[in-house]
Amino acid sequence: MEIVKATNLHKYFGKLHVLKGVDFHADKGEIISVIGPSGSGKSTLLRLLNHLETADRGSIRIDGQYIAKENAEGRSEYISGKETLKICRRLGMVFQSFNLFPHMSVTENLMEAPVMVSGVSKAVAAEKAESLLEKVGLTDKRDAYPGQLSGGQQQRVAIARALAMDPEIMLFDEPTSALDPELIGEVLNVIKNLAAEKITMIIVTHEMNFAREISDRVLFMDGGVIVAGGTPDDILVNPDHQRIRDFLRKIIREA
């Protein structure tokens, strides 16, 4: 069953045509990695799905509900901001730069949205926060402030913060790209553990081994389009496309 479906997505930043007709779908429980060179539109695709950016053309449906629908002239028409916010609450997002709230403790970061947005009681939210911190292995940091944590710890808190809203779909926008190499493993492990829970995940990443290990499907984007998609082996081990082979060779040389 398709929980995310996007058709013919176009996005311009000024004159720059960043997405050039992207069709994308994710089944419930599916884990999809999106790879490709920087500037290929991977992050933009992710940011369109939870309305951090608005599409210029094309449609986006979450669990059958349109948040943007292409009208007769081909322009994307969005439903009301309030409604989009409500639907997009079903998606959690993890950013490259963590974006934790620096003025709140780790626990307060995890409680903020459940209490202020969902209206959950503080006691329930605190309990939930504690169990999520256990899941990401940071119970000893519950009273720390983000500025006191390493990048890897911050990103694990950010994952827990997104999970606190019980999302059905998790979006990861290059979750390890801002981390020192020795901190990448701990974040990837947390994501791997999530995969076991069969939550739908869409991951933009440059970690090829991780993508191969965790994904049901891998998409390769380049120049604003999805060039190819298939099983991890199809894309990462024996790619048909010269562009994928070139990209992978370059990544391996850099690593």
């Binding site: 997002m93 950013f95 003025h103 903020e112 949205a113 202020m116």
Partner: protein
């Protein structure tokens, strides 16, 4: 100079400190919320509002406060043929509130703008609407950033209240000046200076404490 005389003139000048503090607190109490509103207006999507607020801050930051005091106290009465006339203290409150709100508008705007886009995006991704994002995420962090410039403005405000003396508000400097011209004695000015120093010292301490209270976290 005997002790009795010193005591008398100190008491008289200190009486003026009451008026000075009144101008100080009324100005802060009204210009801070007004400044927040204008800052949010400057950051809003309404282009016309930007223009109006731009003219406002330019006008009141670009002309002398003393001139503005004269205008409110004397000028408005002349223009309106006496229909609009304020007493000295009221003219001082109005001018100071409008003038300081113009400075606070710019300070708050800068503080709010220094909060990175990532904070807004994280809040939105968690389902927070714009109002919640402002109230819970952006403004609390902006306060930390604006505290040092707010401290500066508050010190300036203490000293600027002395300008009210020229429109006959009986604050510290006016009373000191009267003693000085009556007795041909500079001691009154020294006492006035000491009171200003005491007041600014207190303001500095208050802001030092506030900054300490917000020192528990760092903004990247």
């Amino acid at each position: 100079m005997d002790i009795g005389y010193l005591w008398d003139i100190t008491a008289y000048i200190a009486l003026g400190a009451g008026v000075t503090l009144k101008v100080f607190f009324i100005t802060l109490a009204l210009s801070v919320p007004l400044g927040v509103l204008c800052a949010l207006g400057k950051l809003s999507r309404f282009k016309i509002l930007h223009g109006v607020l731009g003219v406002y801050t330019w006008l009141f930051r670009g002309t002398p406060l003393l001139l503005q005091l004269f205008f409110t106290y004397y000028g408005l009465g002349i223009i309106s043929g006496g229909r609009i006339a304020f007493g000295p203290e009221m003219a001082a409150y109005i001018t100071f509130v409008v003038n300081y709100a113009a400075y606070f508008t710019e300070i708050f705007r800068g503080g709010i703008q220094s909060i990175g886009r990532g904070q807004y995006e994280a809040a939105k991704a968690l389902g927070m609407n714009q109002w919640l994002t402002m109230k819970r995420i952006v403004l609390p962090q902006a306060i930390k950033i604006i505290l040092p410039p707010m401290g500066n403005e508050s010190i300036n405000l203490i000293k600027d209240t002395a300008l009210c003396s020229v429109i006959t508000v009986t604050e510290i400097l006016r009373n000191a000046n009267r003693v000085m011209s009556r007795d041909f004695n500079v001691g009154a000015l020294v006492i006035a200076a000491a009171i200003y120093l005491l007041l600014t010292f207190i303001v500095i301490q208050v802001f030092r404490r506030l900054e300490k209270r917000y020192a528990y976290y760092t903004i990247r």
